[in-house]
């Protein structure tokens, strides 16, 4: 079953008077449970594609189906709910809220999902235990190493059982040891049946995926986009 399907996806920006075509006619399909890497140099449009797949942005043209729902036509407020329920983000720079402790950071998506405080506490503890951070619950992100922070971010991304896990250069800010650990967690999540989409420019990282989609100048130029 295709969890992601796009048809003729295009995105235009206006940089002053200049029109920029960030994406031009992208057609991709990603199956439930796949581990896909999106590769491309900077300026290729891979970030824009990730933003659209992650429902942070909407295409100028074309259709995007997530779980067979046409999300490209949804209003912004509905997209927020889609992000909350179906998408887990992991960023290069972790993006944890610095003034909240580890537990509160992981609880955040559950709070926006409307879960009550007691339930989300239990759920967040459970997930943090899964990434081996159950002894760091009350720590602030600044008190953790980079690898630990990224594990908190992964816990936050999967706490809501999303349909897809979207990672943007998740190892970019980590040393090779910590980066390897994080990739191992993604592989484990993939083996457990999760759909993982990882944006990277590191071939070694991309090689761990089932499939690589390469983007250049807003178009897919290599790989097998339709798998």
């Amino acid at each position: 079953m295709d969890i992601i399907r796009t048809h003729n996806l295009s995105k235009e920006y206006h940089m002053g008077k200049v029109k920029v075509h960030a994406l031009i006619g992208i057609d991709i399909c990603i199956k439930q449970g796949e581990f896909v890497a999106i590769m491309g140099p900077s300026g290729s449009g891979k970030s824009t594609l990730m933003h659209i797949i992650g429902c942070l942005d909407r295409p100028t043209e074309g259709e995007y189906y997530l779980d067979d729902v046409l999300v490209s036509a949804m209003p912004k407020s509905a997209l927020a709910t889609v992000r909350n329920h179906k998408i887990g983000f992991v960023f290069q720079s972790f993006n944890l809220l610095p003034h909240l402790n580890v537990l509160k950071n992981v609880e955040l998506p559950l709070m926006y999902g409307g879960m009550n405080a007691r339930k989300r506490n239990i759920r967040a503890r459970e997930i943090l235990e899964g990434v081996g951070l159950d002894d760091r619950l009350k720590h602030k992100p600044t008190e953790l190493s980079g690898g630990q922070r990224q594990r908190v971010a992964i816990a936050r991304a999967i706490v809501n059982n999303p349909s897809i896990l979207l990672a943007d250069e998740p190892t970019g800010n980590l040393d090779s040891q910590a980066g390897g650990d994080i990739l191992q967690i993604f592989e484990d999540l993939h083996k457990a049946g999760n759909t993982v989409i990882m944006v990277t420019h590191d071939q070694a990282v991309a090689d761990r995926a089932d499939r690589i989609i390469r983007i250049m100048d807003g178009k897919i130029f290599d790989g097998n986009p339709l798998s």
Binding site: D57, A80, G114
Partner: protein
């Protein structure tokens, strides 16, 4: 489904506690504004209460007074006094009046009982005085109609007069001398007391001491025996109720004006209208100060708006993260609006507490009554919440409209 308000309040409180210094600086304008409103309203409230108490002591809001108009230029002729006949005419014109009391004043009267003497004011009055002034005898009786008819030689003493002339003995039934006239004491007036306000305390322990020094004889006795040839200079009338006082005052004024051939030698005042004009004056005073306080609140509000806008700029990335993990625009809106309102209401509470604290000092310093009321606390609190709502909306809207992609890119 938005996140519950309680959640926004929790987030807001955490943010405020985390940025303590900023929160305190943010809120100073509101604290001062609310404090000012609190103090001014308490002072005005106290002034109104004092005025009211004073009016009550003088016979309440039903009272209408006719007295010489000192603004009138008497060189144009005219005499600020009534004959008994004129008084009777006025009385016949206003049957709706509840009570009617013309007064002849005799200053510097000397009352003697054996070797004891008392100098003071003696009034020739009608029995209605007890109704008009809401002041009755403590012992014995007051001047009666029969005394007026018979020009009886009776006198009712003020409590201080009785004390001075008779000490602790019962004066009733004893005869005293007023100038050359022998009068029998038939009653003692009730002791009157009112706590002085403001500068008054320097002059007297009791605002109403002058009443305790007064004595009363029948109007007819005054006219025929004690002070023949004097005329009636004062007339007090009581309306059925405060609402009727204004209409009755107008009627009395017209009657008196006609009687005096259109010359305004008398002024006719109603306690109710005086009270209202005093309240109006107090109101003007309070409006000016509240306006100043409101300006301070507006400035405070603008400061808060600025700080919130800066805070949102600073927290753009946080907002981006929140949006990415599923916060809706309205969640972000609520988060920042609630935070602003929390800050301003805390400022409001602080202002109320400070205002309460300095009220005591203000009242001591100005020697006036200040009266804080629950309504004022509500007013101050709703004003501070209102400022938060008004000035919190713009920053909250701006935060809620952030594009998640751009917000996440922010360093």
């Amino acid at each position: 489904m938005a996140i519950p308000l309680a959640e926004s309040i929790r987030i807001g409180l955490a943010d405020i506690l985390m940025r303590k210094v900023r929160s305190v600086v943010t809120v100073i304008g509101i604290v001062l504004g609310v404090m000012c409103i609190m103090v001014v309203l308490a002072i005005v409230n106290g002034m109104n209460k004092s005025t009211m108490a004073w009016m009550q002591e003088r016979g309440g809001l039903n009272k209408i007074e006719v007295q010489a108009n000192w603004n009138y230029d008497f060189s144009k002729g005219g005499d600020p006094s009534f004959t008994l006949k004129e008084i009777r005419f006025i009385e016949s014109q206003i049957p709706e009046a509840t009570a009617f009391n013309p007064t002849i004043s005799k200053w510097n009267s000397t009352l003697t009982n054996g070797d004891k003497r008392f100098s003071g004011w003696v009034g020739g009055v009608m029995p209605d005085m007890t109704i008009v002034d809401e002041w009755d005898v403590d012992k014995g009786r007051f001047v009666k109609d029969i005394d007026v008819q018979n020009n009886s030689n009776v006198i009712v003493l003020g409590s201080e007069v009785a004390q001075d002339l008779f000490g602790n003995r019962n004066p009733i039934g004893n005869t005293i001398t007023l100038d050359d006239t022998k009068l029998m004491v038939v009653g003692i007036m009730k002791y009157r007391y009112m706590k002085p306000q403001g500068g008054g305390a320097a002059f007297s322990e009791n605002y109403l001491d002058y009443l305790n020094q007064r004595s009363f004889v029948p109007l007819s006795t005054m006219l025929s025996k004690i002070n023949p040839g004097t005329k009636i200079a004062n007339l007090d009338i009581r309306a059925a109720n405060p609402a009727a006082a204004a209409v009755l005052r107008k009627k009395v004024e017209n009657t008196v004006l006609n009687l005096k051939h259109g010359k305004r030698v008398f002024q006719v005042n109603s306690a109710k209208e005086q009270m209202e004009s005093m309240k109006k004056n107090n109101m003007i005073f309070s409006v000016i100060f509240v306006l100043i306080a409101v300006i301070s609140l507006l400035v405070g509000g603008i400061v808060i708006m600025n700080i919130m806008l800066a805070a949102i700029k600073e927290r753009t990335r946080e907002i981006g993260v929140r949006l990415a993990i599923g916060a809706r625009g309205r969640d972000i809106f609520l988060q920042f609006l609630v935070q602003t309102v929390l800050i301003t209401s805390m400022g409001g509470v602080l202002g109320i507490l400070l205002g309460y604290g300095i009220l005591g000092q203000v009242s001591k310093f100005l020697e006036i009554n200040v009266v804080a009321s629950v309504q004022m606390i509500w007013a101050a609190l709703s004003v501070s919440v209102g400022v938060g709502l008004i000035f919190g909306v713009l920053p909250a809207v701006r935060a809620s409209r952030l594009d998640p992609v751009i917000a996440l890119r922010e360093e």
